[in-house]
Symmetry: C2
Subunit: 512 residues, 2 copies
């Protein structure tokens, strides 16, 4: 390491999951251009170090020649004050990149190799490019099932773990892709009312228009300290919190930040991602929901079945009681898409409102029933009716209210959607024969969801509904002019709906 | 597209081959955070558009809430003045990413698909992550030979082409990896003195300690306008210029900026890269040099032979007269590594100095001889002696002087190496049995080459030389204190030399 000092500066640029360092082109002690081709540098201060990609700066307002600037993420990691001395070094490529190159060559990696990759990623030794290389090399079917197990374990072991000190800790997870699918906000109060422990932590939306955490945030706080979370779960048997504060399987968040923009979807990566997070969160019993449909993530029953077997293989070997349900993924669930509209749907179901969306109610009861059957005292097949009784009797809404109170009380906000809106209209008479999950999510997102909580899509028609020309199919809500325009352009190019003859409505091939 | 305007600002940050846009978190018309997950945006001004990765800014000194900042590269591409109005839009992923995902799935792509990928890359529609995904997916042996041909053609067709309007336009190319291998600076004057057209454009070093353009720059100008280049070639039959200004196979430069830091090396990509550049430069006859050795790029004769066949397959189909020579790649060529030290070696050979490195002289004569045999009037096997006569008679140095004069005259600089230096010493008696090409290049580079032209390594011993303990193996030169320290640490961890018994010197298995 060099002993030449630079002065640390915080540069107010948010570079997401990649550390960036800023060095002036005329840097007084290091030759900024000499670093260029290597492009990754180590910054040292008081025994701590961070790795960052180098950007060369020509403007002294950003960094001066005697300064080393760090983007906000990198600055936080170094945990030092502005103005302290830092030293800079060439960063050697992470050792585990050798294993990545082995994988690129089509070789099989062992557990130690996956562990070293996971560790280097957690320690920010990988650039986004390097993570993309790992994801592509381990993408699709290039991981065998033992490798999926190794990767899951490596992702689990490189983070922290929660221990609830109970024998049965239930959880559920949907592999995603279906807008409006907010079953967790119904399953948790039902299962917790039954007395089972279900400490649910959820993500915020990454590429979807709302995550459970975003929707729950319409009602109450979701950003809870580990201590408070623990207290709430002890008292209420359940919670609906954001999982982002805990350091559970941290590799996952970093890989997702690359995987999503690339639009690559690898079975092995997905399974490792889900199971490592759940195991780290202390779950002992897990229900996995795999929706199948022409625009769902999984499009064929044979794919769903092979995915199920892979989940079971890894779950069994990591001592997780895991069950998989294959569900109807032909269209969005419920009516609303976006935080406020989805929260409205959920509360209608909990309140036994006659207008509540039936599909959201039914699916939530089915899933809650299956989780309740994890209880050794419940007879096989009885879960659904127990769940229904809990919902119909008002015990579910009572439990939800208790959870909300414990998490900080009910927010005094209505679910009124965004003030700017337009309707998308049926262009001819007929029956709704297709609603594209992906496109509906995309429209809600472009309209501003989940950042603008009141933005999104409100569906007036679902599969099989008859429409006449001029009738409204759905309404798009936005809060910003630019988003309103973006969404209008998008709907004009593809509304996501198809109208046709009644006999072309796709039949759900899912038994459940 | 939205009609909301922002004011364009040039942000003095050099982000290399990736466009970056800077939007303030409190942007007045666009919701910066709404763009976050998509992370790529389109910026429009007066009918032009550029794509950029978004960084969110919290400091009004960088951009104000009504401004849109662009990094230097992106600003240049938009070709607008600061202060003009720009509009912003969500960037849809490049259409050709569908083809990349197909390749990730292990499918074969056709010419149209490679063309669309190349076109989107040239138009800056790919992020570095996306380029990494393409490189890994098409890496190693996943391209069949037809696909290598398609990729070569796609890279050729998405750039400009030179036409020298002669039947025989000669060129040479070494696949790289051998430090000090500056044969082009000898081959060009010899071949041009013979009267053949050899308009050589070379690259600057990317991960090596010196490219031909860097070394030639010690002697004269290499950054020539296309018109001047043309005039020099007409007059002198040859040149030694930097190829970077021409827009020949521009995809290649972008892919290299990702491939090199990842350290992935794909045969298909390499062949497409080399042949597309040479065809774009108007070459009709090409000699390819493949050095083989334990620390060369190609480590086994069987690899060299299969690479040769792939070169021949693609060359034949693109109407390029191509020959491959397999050379001794066991150690660096010549003595100096780094621009000044290599220029010294080259001039010693040209001036028939008795101290000139024999290996550089011999290899250059062999290569020049093979190129001279492209001349239909030269009898097979006569090339070497013609080349040797040209060098020994002083016609080569005369031609080099003429080329230097035409390119702007001889610079008045000596080849004196960097003033900071240290020697690496033999730790015991014995024979040099290994010189690691990669490590020697790395040391020269860390010492400051090629940015600091006088930095580098001067080899005192080569393979098979006897040494006694305490003797100097090589000297490292630097110009900056920090670089001197970096290089010293590196040599302490691995000197790149191995000393052992005389019978362990590896035998060259290359006939030539």
């Amino acid at each position: 390491m060099s002993t030449e000092n630079l002065t640390l500066k915080r540069v107010g640029i948010d570079t997401y999951h990649e550390n960036v360092a800023y060095l002036h082109r005329e840097c007084s002690v290091y030759r900024a251009e000499g670093f260029q081709a290597l492009s990754k540098i180590e910054i040292h201060a008081n025994g701590l170090q961070v790795l960052a990609v180098l950007n060369v700066v020509d403007d002294e307002n950003i960094v001066k020649p005697n300064e080393l600037g760090l983007s906000e993420q990198a600055f936080k990691q170094l945990n030092e004050k502005e103005g302290c001395f830092v030293q800079v070094n060439h960063a050697e490529p992470a050792d585990s990149m050798d294993a990545v190159r082995k994988k690129i060559n089509g070789e099989r990696l062992n557990y130690d190799e996956y562990f070293s990759i996971a560790k280097d990623i957690v320690e920010n030794r990988y650039s986004k490019m390097e993570m993309a290389a790992f994801l592509v090399a381990s993408g699709q079917s290039s991981l065998d099932r033992d490798e999926v197990l190794f990767l899951t374990k490596a992702m689990l072991e490189t983070g922290e773990k929660l221990d609830w000190k109970e024998l049965l800790v239930a959880d559920k997870h949907c592999i995603g892709g279906i807008p409006g699918n907010r079953t967790s906000m119904l399953v948790v109060p039902i299962v917790a009312a039954h007395g089972m422990l279900i400490p649910k932590t959820s993500s915020r939306a990454i590429t979807s228009p709302s995550g459970t955490a975003d929707t729950m945030e319409m009602l109450t706080e979701v950003n809870l300290t580990p201590d408070l979370l623990n207290e709430i779960v002890r008292q209420e048997r359940g919670c609906l919190a954001w999982g982002g504060t805990a350091k559970l399987a941290p590799v996952d968040d970093k890989l997702i930040s690359v995987e999503r923009p690339l639009g690559i979807d690898s079975r092995g990566q997905m399974i490792a991602s889900i199971l490592s997070k759940k195991l780290a969160a202390g779950s002992s019993h897990l229900l996995i929901d795999i929706p199948v449909g022409p625009t769902a993530k999984v499009r064929h029953m044979r794919e769903a079945l092979s995915l199920r077997k892979l989940f079971e293989f890894v779950g069994d070997r990591l001592n997780l009681h895991l069950e998989v349900v294959i569900t109807d993924g032909r269209q969005p669930i419920g009516r609303g898409i976006g935080p406020a509209l989805e929260a409205r749907d959920v509360m209608q179901v909990l309140e036994n409102d006659p207008d509540a969306p039936t599909d959201l109610r039914q699916k939530s009861l089915q899933l809650a029933g299956r989780i309740i059957e994890f209880d050794p005292d419940v007879r096989g097949g009885q879960g659904y009716s127990i769940a229904r009784d809990i919902l119909d009797s008002g015990r579910a809404i009572a439990k939800m209210t208790a959870i909300i109170d414990a998490q900080g009380g009910r927010k005094k906000t209505s679910f009124t959607p965004g003030k700017l809106y337009f309707d998308v209209i049926a262009e001819n008479d007929g029956t709704i024969i297709d609603i594209d999950n992906f496109q509906m999510a995309h429209i809600a997102r472009i309209a501003g969801a989940p950042m603008d909580k009141r933005a999104g899509v409100d569906l007036y028609k679902k599969l099989g509904d008859k429409v006449v020309k001029g009738e409204s199919l759905y309404r798009v809500h936005a809060e910003f002019n630019s988003d309103y325009q973006f969404a209008q352009n998008l709907c004009a190019s593809n509304s996501g709906f198809r109208i046709g003859p009644a006999d072309e409505v796709p039949i759900s091939f899912v038994a459940f």
